[in-house]
Symmetry: D2
Subunit: 134 residues, 4 copies
Amino acid sequence: MSYAMRLLDSYPGTFTLDASLLASTIDALNDCAQACTADADDDLSEPDVTSMVKCIRLCLDCADICTTTSAVTSRRTDYDPNVTRPLLEACIAACKSCAAECEMHAMKHAHCAVCAEACRRCQRACQDLLAIVV
Amino acid sequence: MSYAMRLLDSYPGTFTLDASLLASTIDALNDCAQACTADADDDLSEPDVTSMVKCIRLCLDCADICTTTSAVTSRRTDYDPNVTRPLLEACIAACKSCAAECEMHAMKHAHCAVCAEACRRCQRACQDLLAIVV
Amino acid sequence: MSYAMRLLDSYPGTFTLDASLLASTIDALNDCAQACTADADDDLSEPDVTSMVKCIRLCLDCADICTTTSAVTSRRTDYDPNVTRPLLEACIAACKSCAAECEMHAMKHAHCAVCAEACRRCQRACQDLLAIVV
Amino acid sequence: MSYAMRLLDSYPGTFTLDASLLASTIDALNDCAQACTADADDDLSEPDVTSMVKCIRLCLDCADICTTTSAVTSRRTDYDPNVTRPLLEACIAACKSCAAECEMHAMKHAHCAVCAEACRRCQRACQDLLAIVV
């Protein structure tokens, strides 16, 4: 069981969201942040770094946005859906853009294939969470 | 001249946004992140911390979201409006929620008055930037 | 296999550190950041929040430091041990302080027991990594 | 007066550090984080991006470490010098490494000259703060 799930399990208050869906979204966000941070660095080590510039930039954005979305959705106390909804939308957009760019390099660079997978999983998880955030 | 403005001035590529409006938004985002981080800590030192719980939580969210929005809007290379727009919307929502809560404590706690001011300034700056992000 | 390990596996350059030790440290850092962010929020929902103030503050510090240490150690390109060493020392100190405080609340609050465990695991992982960072 | 100073002025507890020295360090940290985030992006837009790889990596590290050091030093409640001291040392090391690299590109790239200046100012501010953190 992930730390996200274990901490939700021991939350002293109440919340109406499905805890296991929320925990798997937080896990996907943390995984995606890690994949994007590492992939941006992998790109920097490629001999053809010039062709990886857009990928680096989108990975940096996606890492930052996933990290923040993970923190905000992890906080259950006095939860504010007016903040969570557009933040999830921003995160879905960042994951989509980053995944699309990584997929263009996936045949050539294995690290981009891994990162694209993490982004697509995170995009779907955020879409599932957004559907139940009211 | 702020570092945000000086770095935009020396950007080697081109971008179509108004540089001084963008720089003043980045400055407002960084100021708001600083105010929210410090205000959350000030709240923790108040004898009536029980009544400051919602303020702490909203300050933590707002600080995280402003920090990320500052980083994303600072990056001009291969700029993606599909990410920037919902992120600015999330930031506006976070600033509004945090400002509204801080304003309720502003008479009693000077630090909340300062934080509310930073949030309202950031909210307006993000709204102005959102209006020209296409 | 974690994303940290998969991305290290596909790193295009070379690095001399043991990849599986590095990956498990990055995983421990990400887990600890998640546990601390969630535990600070759990503390905020406790009726005795007044007695949790120190725990909240140390969790916030530990989350921030673990997130940054994870990002810095994930970057292998032009790696700088002069930065990594004191950063790992700061992270070890933050994990120790946070764990010690969480352990004092662990009997009463299950979420603090989980967070203490994540901090101790991260502390050990960073100590192991520090021993081989030259 | 900066928000860092205004929030320290309205801190409800007591702290023994010189507030104006602390505030100017926090300002230098926030400025340096901003300069490094923007400079990494400026580097990505340079036609000779291949020769800027080390600069990009060090800027990303320095931005992350300055952001975290700013947040940790902004929190005065239950302040822990055992964490603050090695964190300031890590920040000084990051600023030195990043400044040294940026200075090598300063004649060719104006953005690196600005970033080097921000790093050197932040390095000195952290050294001054470290001298009084006990």
